[in-house]
Structure formats: structure tokens, C-alpha cells
Amino acid sequence: MAFNWDFIIKFLPNYGMATLLTIRLAAFGILLSVLLGVSCSLVLYFRVRVVGAIVRGYIELSRNTPLLIQLFFLYYGIPKLGILISSHACAIIGLTFLGGGYMAEAFRSGLESVSKAQLESGLSIGLNSFQMTRFVIFPQALSVAVPALGANCIFLIKETSVMSIIAIQDLMSLTKELIGMYYNTVETLTILVICYLLLLLPVSFLFLFIERRLRYAEFGL
């Protein structure tokens, strides 16, 4: 099968742009969902009343519905109430809504793994609650949460693949467009896969490396 290299070279910049867009959306989405997730997990950990119930409801809602449906509701449903959201904002909000729930669960399991002895020791040497969180709870919880965090990051990057449904010019919509216009199916699908591999393999290896490093910490316990 002859590969049409001219075609590939011609549209490579488009693929580059689309990949960059995916990276940008995913980066914002991951960053915001980590922030949201940490806040939610702290609310649950410190058993804040009322807010805790809302947070629990939110986590279940975001974890038990697909991103695609969330996006449809955000992009086509919500504007009917008079709130207009651009497609980029919508993508990031959607990703954050989804990711926040997953990140919250990851951090929560990390927080819960910190043993009671640690908390009591911290209190007995006179740390206040901020110092406890900052120096005792958080570092230990984070190292437990890292594998789940990594899995969530990869999951969120992969989830960006549905964004074409809300008019985002990402890799999937570019691929579909090019196949529709030129029928160069083999070339377009090959670049598509390569782009995703380039995007996801480094992230996957990075977290593998971090996880391995964090395992050293366990020997001290």
C-alpha cells in the first residue's frame, strides 16, 4: 500500500495545531479538576456539614455519567436558560466537572490512608490545623494518591477525544473532515494514532517514573 507522503506533509501542520489544542484543553482541565478535587476531598475529610452532602452528590453525579452527555447538556441544554458558553469554555468546564469527581476520590483515598497515629502525634507536638494539613497529612496523602492521579490524568486526556461534538477542532474532527474530503483513510488514521501516542505515552511513562520514586518513601515506614 503506497503511503501518500505529500498528503501527510500537507496536513501535518493541521495535526500539530489540533494536538496543541488538545494539550491546552487537557492541561486546563486537569489543573482545574485537581484544584476542584482537592477542595472536595478536604470538605469530605473534615466533614463539613451541608457542603459535604453537596460535594458527595456532585462526585456521584460526575462519576456516573459520561462526559459526552455532560457536554451535550452544557453546550446545547444550558444556553436555553440564557447562559451562553463558548465551545472552548464549555470543553474546559465539562472536563473539570468530570475530572473533579475522579480527582476528589483519588485524594480522598489518599487522605484516609494517613494513620490516626500520625494525626495524634502531630497534635501532641502542638501543630495547628494548617500545619497539620500542610506538613503531616498532605505529603503522605499525596504519595498514596499519585497512582490514581496519574490514571486520572491519562483518562482526562483520552476523554478530550469527544470534544469534536461541541465544535472543537481537535484531532477527531480533523480526521473525520480529511477522510470525508480526500478519502486518504490510511494516512489520516495513522497520523491520528501517532498523535495520540505522542500525547499519551510520555505522560504514562512520567507517572510510571514518579510512582517508582515514591515507592522509596514506603521503606521508611
Binding site: 455519567t65 441544554g77 444550558i78 436555553k80 501516542l197
Partner: protein, 225 residues
């Protein structure tokens, strides 16, 4: 009160069509889950092998599905089949194939994890007691492995149900597409339809997945000792 557009959901005809769409989604999920459980157990047992080459190949298959988004796999099969056979495979068939392939990989990894999580001394003690190989599996390995397998497998089922929403990309007429059709049909007389329809589909997915994931968590908590 001004027309809120909620009546789009009250129409019996619309509701029936939405439910039919949901039926298609569930059908794809159910068939794929069945195939995945069956092939996943086989695949998982193969993965417990000590042969490095076989393990490496299995691992590669699993990672391929973990790294590349499912939507990309759907595209690969959907457009790839059009190229290979001259006409594209039915979107429904492509979806079932892709979800089964993915499900097999994930289910297999759960089976592998469950079998390998049983400490070696369990097997050794059983052998020391004089149990035959089949008895070791029947009375020692399988009962313990199942307790680790079932909650994770149920969790995977909810993931598969959620992921079936992607089949709309390969032209399957499922709940989302039906919803779109209803919205387009009511565009003029009911501009609020899209809000209610999409909210409804959102809730439907939640009602479907929440009890299952809750059940999986309960089982996990109950069997963890």
C-alpha cells in the same frame, strides 16, 4: 405560566422513542460485557503465564487499549473497514467489536490481578494438604479470586455503559441521536426542548450507573477482610 417546554418529555411518543434508543445503548453494552467476561477470563488466565513472550504480547494488547482512546479505536475500525471491505461495517457491529476487544483487555487484567493477588502460601498449603490440582483451584484459588474479581468487574460494567455513549459517533441511532431528532423536530414550537431532553438523558445515565457502582462498592467493602 409560560410554556417551559417540559411537555416534550411528557409526550408518550417521544418517551417511547427515547427508551428505544436507550435499548440500543444497553444492547451494545450487554452483548459486549458478556463477550468480555467470557474472553476476559481466558485472556486473564493466559496472562498469568510465566512465559515472558506470551505475557509481553498480552500486555501490549492491554496497553494499546489503555493508551489509545476508545473513540479512536471506533474510528479505526469504522473507517478502516470501509477501506478494507469497500463498504463500511454497520456502526452497531463496529461498536460491539471495539467494546468487546476493550472489555476483554480490561476484564483480563482484573482476572490476572485477582488470581495473582492470592498469596503463594495458599496454594502451597493446599498442596501440602494433599489436594489435587483441580481441588486447589476449586476450593482455594477460585473462591478467593472471585471476591476480588466481582467488584472490579461490576465497576468495569459501569465504565462500559458510560462509554457506549460514544457509539453516536459511528452513526448508531441510540438515545442521544433520538434525542437530537426529537429536538430538531420540535425546534420551532418548543425551543426549550434541548434543555429538557439532554437533562433527561443525563439523568437516565446516572440512574443506570449509580446503583451499579454503589453495588460494586458495597461488595468490595463487604468482602474485604
Amino acid at each position: 405560566m409560560q410554556n417551559s417546554g417540559f411537555d416534550v418529555l411528557l409526550s408518550l411518543n417521544n418517551m417511547r422513542r427515547l427508551m428505544q434508543g436507550l435499548g440500543v445503548t444497553l444492547e451494545i453494552a450487554l452483548i459486549s460485557v458478556m463477550i468480555s467476561i467470557f474472553l476476559g477470563v481466558v485472556y486473564g488466565l493466559i496472562m498469568t503465564t510465566k512465559n515472558r513472550a506470551v505475557y509481553g504480547l498480552c500486555r501490549l494488547y492491554l496497553e494499546a487499549f489503555r493508551i489509545i482512546p476508545i473513540l479512536v479505536w471506533l474510528f479505526l475500525l469504522f473507517f478502516g473497514s470501509a477501506l478494507a471491505f469497500g463498504s463500511d461495517l454497520d456502526g452497531l457491529l463496529v461498536s460491539v467489536i471495539v467494546f468487546s476487544m476493550w472489555g476483554t483487555a480490561e476484564m483480563g487484567d482484573i482476572v490476572r490481578g485477582a488470581v495473582q493477588s492470592i498469596p503463594i502460601h495458599q496454594r502451597q498449603s493446599a498442596e501440602a494438604l494433599g489436594l489435587r490440582r483441580i481441588q486447589v483451584y476449586r476450593h482455594v484459588i477460585i473462591p478467593q479470586a472471585v471476591r476480588r474479581f466481582v467488584p472490579a468487574a461490576i465497576n468495569l460494567v459501569t465504565r462500559m455503559i458510560k462509554t457506549t455513549s460514544l457509539v453516536v459517533f459511528v452513526g448508531v441511532t441510540e438515545i442521544l441521536r433520538v434525542g437530537k431528532q426529537i429536538i430538531e423536530f420540535n425546534m420551532m414550537k418548543n425551543p426549550m426542548a434541548s434543555f429538557w431532553i439532554y437533562a433527561f438523558i443525563f439523568i437516565i445515565y446516572f440512574i443506570l450507573c449509580y446503583p451499579i457502582s454503589k453495588f460494586s462498592k458495597r461488595l468490595e467493602a463487604k468482602w474485604e477482610c
